[in-house]
């Protein structure tokens, strides 16, 4: 494989890590919404942390090797619209995921507190798990990453 293909493999590995881990987080998120006992929610939210760390690593790897590719290829310019849009969406996805992640961290801490206090089902925990703003932030972040994938393939303006 030549250098271009090696760079592309690592860039794609980052993209796979982000989207695959977003799927992983989504599955655990949906599963947590279906559980009643706080201790079970805690387990699923702790597993979600694996996905969150993978998304963070994937975002950094995809960005680093994407930048390297742009710098390396003669016919791709920093001024290309699709490169600029992708970078902006990368920031948006990171910000949405970061804010949503902090809210879900608070929900996990609340579930841990309930689990330590008798592990009884709680209507407040149920409401927090389904809070629309938190869900919109976390799932919206995933949708923005899918949009980045679409831009990488269609390359509008190229």
């Amino acid at each position: 494989m030549d250098r271009y293909h090696w760079l592309l493999v690592f860039h794609m590995a980052g993209a796979f890590l982000v989207l695959g881990a977003a799927m992983l987080a989504g599955i655990f998120n949906v599963a947590a919404m279906r559980r009643e006992r706080p201790s079970e929610v805690v387990v699923l939210y702790r597993l979600t942390q694996i996905a969150v760390r993978s998304i963070t690593i994937g975002l950094v790897v995809a960005l680093a090797f994407g930048i390297w590719l742009v710098a390396d290829l003669d016919f791709v310019k920093w001024s290309n619209a699709w490169v600029i849009i992708a970078l902006i969406l990368w920031v948006v996805a990171s910000a949405l995921g970061g804010i949503g992640g902090r809210r879900e961290e608070e929900t996990r801490r609340f579930a841990e507190k309930l689990a330590a206090e008798g592990d009884a089902p709680s209507t407040e925990l149920r409401a927090r798990l389904r809070y629309p703003v938190t869900l919109a932030l976390s799932w919206g972040s995933g949708l923005v990453v899918v949009a980045i994938l679409a831009i990488m393939i269609w390359k509008p303006g190229h």
Binding site: M1, M23, A31
Partner: protein
């Protein structure tokens, strides 16, 4: 940047194929993690079985059908190795996933038996590694 320049009518099937591949990888990882976790938390067996049926399998269908769609548009000469790896992992994956789904259902219906869930962990772990190998082969296209 997923590839350089290609005909516009390849974009949509390629998008679906790559999206399906990333989702099936994540869903397979979820099935693997829940299968391992269900030894400690038996209620995870249901999460594992639902993940295989409602996430991994639909994502596999998306990946495979979109892969067939893009392959019908590309004029690939010969039988390059990277394409062969894609076919083996794609089609072989169906067998692994069907067996994993059956064993996952057995694990839920027979909670006293641990081996079906252990087998699901092995199958999904193997398939996860195979998917990563396919991703490297299909992106890097070694030998072409």
């Amino acid at each position: 940047m997923l590839a350089i320049i290609r005909p516009d009518n390849w974009n949509f099937p390629l998008f679906l194929h790559v999206l399906g591949a990333t989702l099936v990888t994540g869903a397979t990882a979820a099935a693997f993690i829940t299968a391992l976790s269900s030894r400690r938390w038996p209620w995870m067996r249901l999460v594992m079985a639902r993940t295989l049926l409602l996430a991994t399998f639909p994502a596999w269908i998306l990946m495979r059908l979109a892969g067939a769609w893009i392959e019908s548009r590309e004029d690939i000469s010969g039988s390059p190795g990277w394409l062969g790896v894609g076919f083996i992992v794609g089609d072989g994956g169906l067998l692994l996933l069907v067996v994993a789904m059956i064993l996952g259902a057995v694990g839920v219906r027979r909670p006293q038996r641990n081996w079906p869930v252990g087998a699901v962990a092995v199958l999904t772990g193997v398939y996860f590694v195979a998917l990563i190998v396919a991703m490297v082969a299909m992106t890097g296209k070694p030998g072409s």
